[in-house]
Symmetry: C2
């Protein structure tokens, strides 16, 4: 345990200056922070061979006001026409507004903002007020062949909101963030795409007060780690998942119907619980990442909010194989599925033990004595949700299965600790980067029978670099498989980061995993996407693209590899 | 209760003559029958104002050997090329073989076969032996612009297998019915499309013996009423549902990945439990009803077969509204979903009470006394599946909710009675039709908030015709709604049947229900389909069609309304 009076960095802890670069790349809420605790600080120094001196001066904090020279290529006449559609106050061409919507929250975005590398900006930011505005904008851009990209929460880590072809960026989160309807009979909510996760969730949990006639409190059940900064529109068009998706489902399971404005007209699907009326157009539009059209309304399933029923549990397994057997048995057990469910591999478990202060304690000694050894042991934590008896039964069955596989119960306390940090961990990124350390994540989906091999192969690549932390966990479970989420932490510069990150993606691709479980493809994975999909499948997407957007104005410039030049293709 | 020695019709009870019309239109297995019992016989006479005399002579039994004059339009050279691809023994041009694959099991198909109305036949029936055969056939037909339609189980009630443009019909159930792989780790099975429900289910239930290394007995969980005569391929391409779908899911929830041969090449999706890699091509191909390509392999989720855990229950409600409240509460209760779940409306309940011999008994009198009156009361029956404690809890919660809504438990006996007949009821159709009585079904999907109105509107149309039984039930439940399955029974001729049936579809369409919950669209619903989908949505399907099948050879002639002439459009 590091001493209390030892040197501890002066982490950045203030709302970033207005209109500064940092105000753009800072994660989440402007006034919310999570700093590395003393244990993590010690771990970093040790792992990356750094000293206190390396943490005395922050680099590239991005406190400067945004300012650059990047020409607006739209004509005055075009800008005037845009102003005529949405009102002058909703067309912005200043540097800050244009930069703010171009980048997301991928590490490379943060690097570029710190280094003031300005590229791929829109010519103007347009804030539509309504579906009718979007219709007029899409019609205008289609006629004038002006690229149109959509920006909503800005939490993309896939370079999905960049505008390499210029044009306009539609900022959805300013006006188009209304709840259009709550239907307590069907248990659905209809919203505009710009509403944030917290705004929607707050309204649902408060439903009896906010919506006359709503008999219950509700939850949307979709709580991604990016919750604070994500919007419903982003969830849908990227095919996202929340951390409780094992119980509530991924977003494609939650969407009931939708409305998109495309250059080929309005695509509206109808609200039914299920049907056998041909191909499912909802599943064509979900995951289209802005390349087919602009989402303007979506109806989602909602669920009863019953936190009083939540059961929390955690277990330590002796090794990864036995833990994997247990979680597969849970996933295939047909007694109901847990809500949060999260299995850490040995390295992530060791880091967690260290950060939670378990390592080196009497408890740790006991654990080792019982055969739960560092470098081998694995932490599983989770919750069961739903009706009281259901949740109790799920938790009980999980306990039974885990114990049968040699796990030691470590109580719901660990889960509460995790819950406390569930939306806060990404806030650490800026602190680390202030001192040249990068923490990044890549995730994929795997079947049970290939999980261990894929984990081993990707990890082998990651760990071939010395002084690199590579943790991984599975956090979304299905009877047929799960996801693998890799987190690497290392001291590296921008150039090495880009090479290393591409190497991890290569490893995931070559191992045969699905390129993404819930982050989407964007421009970041586009170089691998066509090889992943295969030429015939890619041709179907291109046929759809041609139908919806014959002038290629919708989010052009590489997203989903629809117009990626051959030389950019990686595999 | 009708007297035992009273006249009782001499129902048709023998395997139909070989190659007869009846051998084609007979439902299910050739040697399996279900005749109307004496109570149903009495009900029919009473309802339709018929006498014993009306049941002395059968009409149009179709015992004659199939024979007609319907030209083969393919050239000798083309037929030779087909023989070169699949072998001469797998190319059939005789009358019987061509007729057998053209019609399904819709009432109009039966009428046409009884009346020897021969139309929409293929020129030749081709029996592919493998994916490679299908590839060569599709390539050949594409080059020669020969229509290609697929026939598998032949249980379609949507006119999906007719060949109005001639060409070839691919009979998948002869060779392409293999189980390609059982994967007990991922809990999936990969099959060819021609395998029947019973063949697949038998193999899965017998897995430990048939597949080395399979540790469990399995079920595919997909048990439609057409089980005896349906195939996996049909389930997938029509977007079907089994009677236990409330627990196991519809087929679109069960498909993990697939392979199709299209004129534009092979479309293969990849096996992952979930992903965020763009639009979902599986959901583009599911429900495409043979218009995009030929399904050659599909991987389905499987489940543990645990019949020992099944809990059966049934309840009588005082009225339809209270029953609907209860089933909605169950569907939204988050304690797990039942497996079979089936709520009959008052008319279906009354018919069931009569057929099961309850009406007029002491039990019936007691029920009436307690306020469960004919014309109002509703029967709910079902089962809970899954792990033992889960099934028990689901059944217990359902009981609690039903009782709270004033229902009387009527035990699992009723459910067992239903289970006994679950795949047999369609066998009744031929008996009734032998005496001029038609029993037909139409089904749709509805949200909770429109269910009662849609039920009332469709029923109003059905019951406007005197002496017509119209029963309905909901049998597939979701948190957001359910299906409505209408069964009408009446004495009517072919002309009136077609007008009446179109009127029911009109009523469903105008009421705003989804045109189909699990039967698909085919050619039968095609006249309403474009209005149901809307022009923009239809344009997306046409763009896909043009991509996959630019020469319009795949199941041409109206399926999914892709090439329906304007004059055939109903709405």
């Amino acid at each position: 345990m590091p001493k209390k009076d030892a040197f501890y960095p002066d982490w950045y802890h203030r709302v970033p200056p207005e209109k500064s670069y940092r105000s753009i790349f800072k994660w989440g809420y402007p006034d919310t922070f999570k700093h590395p605790n003393r244990r993590l600080y010690a771990l970093m120094k040790e792992t990356f061979a750094m000293t206190d001196d390396d943490f005395r001066v922050k680099r590239n904090t991005g406190d400067e006001k945004v300012s650059f020279d990047y020409p607006v290529k739209l004509s005055t006449a075009q800008l005037d026409q845009l102003r005529a559609i949405v009102g002058a106050e909703n067309v912005l061409t200043d540097d800050y507004s244009r930069l703010r919507v171009a980048y997301g929250k991928m590490i490379y975005d943060l690097i570029r903002l710190r280094e003031k590398k300005i590229e791929n900006l829109p010519d103007a930011v347009v804030r539509p007020r309504s579906k009718e505005d979007v219709q007029a904008l899409v019609r205008f851009c289609h006629a004038e062949k002006i690229p149109l990209t959509v920006f909503s929460g800005g939490s993309s880590v896939m370079r999905g909101t960049e505008c390499p072809k210029g044009g306009i960026s539609l900022e959805m989160g300013v006006h188009m963030k209304r709840i259009l309807k709550l239907n307590p009979v069907n248990q659905t909510v209809t919203v505009e795409p710009g509403i944030t996760g917290p705004d929607l969730e707050d309204a649902l949990r408060d439903a009896p007060r906010r919506f006359p006639g709503a008999p219950h409190r509700y939850t949307c059940g979709h709580l991604p780690q990016s919750f604070h900064g994500s919007t419903v529109g982003g969830w849908v068009v990227t095919r996202g998942a929340g951390q409780n998706s094992t119980y509530y489902g991924k977003i494609e399971d939650l969407v009931v119907c939708q409305e998109y404005i495309t250059p080929a007209g309005e695509i509206a699907t109808r609200e039914y619980p299920a049907s056998a009326t041909g191909p499912d157009l909802d599943q064509v539009m979900i995951g289209s990442e802005g390349t087919f059209g602009v989402l303007v309304a979506v109806t989602l399933k909602i669920f009863r909010y019953m936190p009083e029923n939540t059961r929390r549990f955690s277990f330590i397994f002796k090794d990864y194989p036995s833990a994997l057997e247990a979680v597969r048995e849970v996933s295939q057990g047909e007694f109901g599925l847990p809500s949060v469910f999260r299995l850490s591999d040995p390295e992530e478990t060791d880091v967690a033990m260290r950060l939670y202060g378990v390592e080196g304690t009497a408890l740790d000694k006991l654990l080792r004595l019982l055969g739960y050894r560092p470098g081998e042991r694995c932490l599983l934590l989770g919750t069961a949700d739903g009706e009281r008896g259901f949740a109790r039964h799920v938790a009980r069955m999980i306990g039974r299965i885990c114990r049968r596989h040699g796990a030691l119960p470590t109580t719901g306390y660990v889960t509460r600790r995790w819950e406390h940090g569930r939306f806060l961990d990404p806030y650490l990124r800026e602190d680390l980067q202030d001192y040249g350390i990068i923490i990044d994540t890549l995730e994929c989906a795997v079947n049970w029978d290939s999980l261990e091999r894929i984990w081993r192969e990707v990890r082998a690549y990651c760990k071939a670099r010395p002084r690199t932390i590579c943790m991984s966990h599975s956090s979304h479970f299905y009877p047929q498989g799960t996801n693998l989420y890799f987190i690497f932490v290392a001291r590296m510069d921008a150039g090495e980061y880009l090479r290393y990150q591409a190497g991890v993606i290569d490893a995931i691709f070559k191992a045969g995993a699905a390129l993404s479980h819930h982050h989407g493809i964007g421009r970041m994975l586009a170089p691998w996407y066509e090889s992943f999909m295969g030429p015939q499948q890619m041709a179907v997407l291109r046929a759809l693209k041609k139908h919806f957007d014959p002038h290629n104005i919708m989010n052009p410039g590489g997203t989903l590899a629809l117009d990626l030049p051959d030389e950019k293709k990686r595999m």
